[in-house]
């Protein structure tokens, strides 16, 4: 729990000197409790009080950064349990695991494959966040070499998987500037692992045998002065991981249970790529900050990335494109004109289909505050009364020498009003964007 104003007040100097900008220490304390003031405004708080207060006013879940330079993965710092309460901020990092048992050539080929896992849909680009290198060989030199090889082939974020602190130190030394995630500190090795992590200022994963063991371990590590942590309850079975992840997140957010106030890491166990993606989906949905996977099946990963994108969109703001007139291809004054909304999903779906017709065309992204065609129509934003007057005045009148506009089939009903108010002839297109190619063939002679 955060501290109440009164609890904070007890820790302040109580001199009412006003230097903080508040009339009394109590007023300052109340503002601190509601997050409207910053502790640094009072020059007189004691160090003990400072520590206690910082602890209490810190976010419920710490933000952890893995990687360096351009490629940094930020995880944690979530504030809610349900996205409808606010939003989820830091999308689950998706990693692919490789073994140091692979030969150098195999390893290089594998990393090439991972680098090529790039997906594009609806104007967005998804890619794997990083590579997790596992010390299956048990050998320090082999591991170090493998880490070097992988690091040389990709600038993605790295996770080093070994529980031997000496092996970890040797391998981490070659990629120290990349700030890899070190996995993992356990009950047996945590003191040395913390030393390694401190030495390289790298984030450290902590694996317990269960939730209680994990909490103990985190307290011990925090006691050693290290807080750049990522949590693993040690569980691997899907429904049990779901339960543990839920506990960690709930305790962090609702109880402010400090040992659980860090992001989490999960590992899939399914061998089949399709099953693996479904298992990973559970962790993406419910509070996993990282998921380490083994397969590189494109269709399976494409669906997983799409789901991650969906869960992590801000429920309050649809993703929109700039409203306006877009030229697709080498347009001329004879080019056909299509109209859609500025909801990015709608816009890009339609744009891709128009591109596929190979007829240079104009596509108008009409400002609907980022709503889809039917939603905007139902909400009175994509109707003749709105589009008509705009179209009449629009720059598109100078760009083309015809007056024909193609509208989505789903809103055929706006045809009459739109024609009346714009003076344009309205052609009702197909309902689904996927029908545009066939439509263009028939109506525009593509």
């Amino acid at each position: 729990m955060g501290l109440t104003g009164l609890q904070i007040f007890k820790l302040l100097p109580k001199t009412n000197c006003k230097e903080c900008g508040f009339p009394t220490c109590l007023a300052f304390a109340m503002s601190l409790a509601s997050g409207k003031a910053n502790l640094s405004q009072c020059p007189y708080v004691s160090d003990e009080a400072k520590q206690a207060l910082e602890e209490a006013t810190a976010p419920p879940m710490r933000l952890i950064k893995i990687g360096a330079g351009e490629k940094v993965l930020e995880i944690g710092d979530e504030q809610v349990l349900f996205r409808h309460d606010k939003t989820f901020y830091h999308p689950t990092g998706i990693f692919i695991e490789v073994s140091d048992n692979l030969s150098e050539d195999e390893l290089k080929a594998k990393v090439d494959e991972i680098n090529e896992l790039v997906f594009e849909r609806v104007g967005e680009r998804y890619e794997v966040d990083g590579v997790a290198i596992k010390n299956d060989s048990g050998n320090a030199d082999t591991f170090k070499k493998a880490v070097e090889t992988v690091a040389g082939k990709t600038d993605k974020v790295l996770i080093l998987l070994t529980e031997d602190p000496a092996v970890m130190e040797a391998a981490a030394s070659v990629v120290a500037d990349r700030k890899p995630l070190l996995y993992a500190a356990t009950g047996d090795n945590y003191e040395q692992m913390v030393e390694v992590a401190k030495k390289f200022q790298a984030p450290l994963a902590v694996r317990g045998k269960n939730l209680s063991d994990l909490a103990d371990l985190v307290e011990k590590i925090v006691g050693l002065g290290y807080r750049e942590l990522v949590l693993d309850s040690g569980e691997r079975q899907t429904s049990k991981v779901l339960a543990d992840l839920t506990q960690i997140r709930r305790q962090a957010i609702k109880k402010r249970f400090r040992p659980f106030g860090y992001p989490t890491i999960t590992f899939t166990t399914e061998e089949d790529p399709m099953k693996e993606a479904l298992q990973a989906q559970v962790y993406v949905s419910k509070y996993g900050s990282i998921v380490v996977m083994k397969n590189t099946s494109k269709p399976a990963l494409l669906t997983l990335f799409t789901w991650r994108r969906n869960v992590y969109t801000d429920p309050q703001k649809p993703i929109a494109v700039q409203p306006g007139i877009y030229a697709i291809g080498d347009v001329t004054p004879d080019s056909p004109v299509y109209i859609t909304t500025n909801f990015s999903l709608t816009f890009y779906t339609v744009q891709t289909e128009i591109e596929a017709t190979r007829i240079p065309s104009y596509l108008i992204a009409f400002d609907t505050d980022g709503l889809s065609v039917l939603t905007a129509w139902a909400g009175g934003k994509f109707i003749g009364e709105e589009i008509g007057p705009w179209l009449k005045e629009s720059e598109i009148n100078q760009k083309v020498n015809h007056r024909k506009i193609i509208i989505p089939g789903g809103v055929a009903a706006i045809k009459g009003k739109l024609e009346e108010l714009s003076g344009w002839e309205v052609i009702v297109g197909p309902r689904e964007a996927s029908g545009i190619t066939a439509f263009a063939k028939m109506r525009l002679g593509a």
Partner: protein, 323 residues
């Protein structure tokens, strides 16, 4: 330091609805399925009961216009709805058969009559064992007739009938009450409409244990996050005692998923998209899996491979996770 497990104390639970009727119950089904009844968030068995989601599979009364990758699985039966339904329950693990009466649509050539539809339903019931759900063609006028005939033909079988929406629920509710069937009430991704519709249907006299809600869930990549959040809100609402949000939820995952371009575009259509067949099946399975996480009590699936994946996925999620 033992960590104290954080359990929410809920006062409500999801309404339990039974689908189908065995001989003893006046029907002919080999078994019934229980929808809903959860007293915890999805799969959090440590704080209550989490009902196992049920798998329904889709049959049309006419040959479907589905992607060619369905051909090897149901191409031999898709012109014969009875054989198709049998195949789904015998070979593909459908726990519930979901029949859509597309052929009754008056906009089609030679639309099927209400009588044709009733006969088909009867025949499917005679030749299958699974509980049945029946959706009309979507034309309100025609469905009034069709669903009433179907309700009569299936009397005693405790099937589910849909889609009841704000503007046509009365006739469907009446048909359901007459045949003692369940009703599927659809609201367009809108929790307030969902609640209003439930209230209106209850007011008509439909018992609470006969109502199933369809929140018109969208597919992966096409608005599914709205559905997911609305379902999470509804489940949470049910648990904290709002009975109008507490009806079991059906998600028509298959049909939404296969509308997506990503599901049907040819091999390597987009950068990094991979082969179509796996992609289509995954698009459907991922849609269903996400909706199950959101709280779906029954998912309607299309592709047998997707159904198989989801069945196994549900098994994994049902492994007890009490502490």
């Amino acid at each position: 330091m033992p960590v104290e497990i954080f359990k929410e104390k809920y006062t409500g639970k999801v309404q339990e609805v039974v689908l189908g009727a065995t001989k003893e119950e006046g029907g002919t089904r080999a078994y019934t399925v229980k929808l809903g009844g959860s007293s915890a968030l999805p799969f959090l068995q440590f704080e209550g009961e989490s009902a196992r989601p049920v798998i329904a599979m889709e049959v049309w009364d006419i040959k479907p216009n589905w992607h060619e990758c369905f051909e090897p699985y149901i191409g031999d039966v898709w012109e014969d709805p009875v054989a198709w339904a049998q195949k789904l329950e015998q070979e593909y693990g459908a726990e519930v058969i979901y029949l859509t009466l597309k052929g009754a649509d008056p906009e089609r050539e030679n639309p099927k009559s209400a009588d044709d539809c009733a006969k088909l339903v009867k025949k499917i019931l005679e030749n299958t064992k699974a509980p049945l759900m029946v959706e009309g063609c979507g034309n309100y006028e025609k469905d009034n007739e069709v669903l009433q005939a179907v309700a009569e033909a299936a009397a005693g079988e405790n099937i589910a009938l849909g889609m009841a929406e704000k503007d046509n629920y009365r006739s469907i509710a009446a048909a359901c009450m007459m045949g003692k069937h369940c009703i599927i009430a659809r609201s367009p991704v809108d929790i307030n409409i969902m609640k209003q519709l439930n209230i209106m249907i209850l007011d008509m006299g439909v018992p609470a244990d006969k109502i199933i809600n369809d929140p018109l869930a969208s597919g992966l990549g096409y608005g599914i996050e709205y559905s997911y959040s609305i379902m999470e809100r509804a489940r949470y609402g049910a648990l904290v005692g709002d009975k109008m949000m507490a009806f079991p939820i059906v998600c028509l995952a298959g049909q939404e998923a296969w509308r997506a371009k990503e599901a049907v575009a040819p091999d390597d259509a987009g950068p990094g998209w991979g082969d179509q067949k796996t992609r289509g099946i995954m698009w459907e399975a991922m849609t269903a899996a996400a909706l199950i996480q959101g709280g779906a009590d029954i998912v309607l699936l299309r592709h047998p491979e997707a159904a198989k994946l989801i069945k196994e996925h549900i098994e994994d999620l049902m492994v007890p996770n009490t502490y």
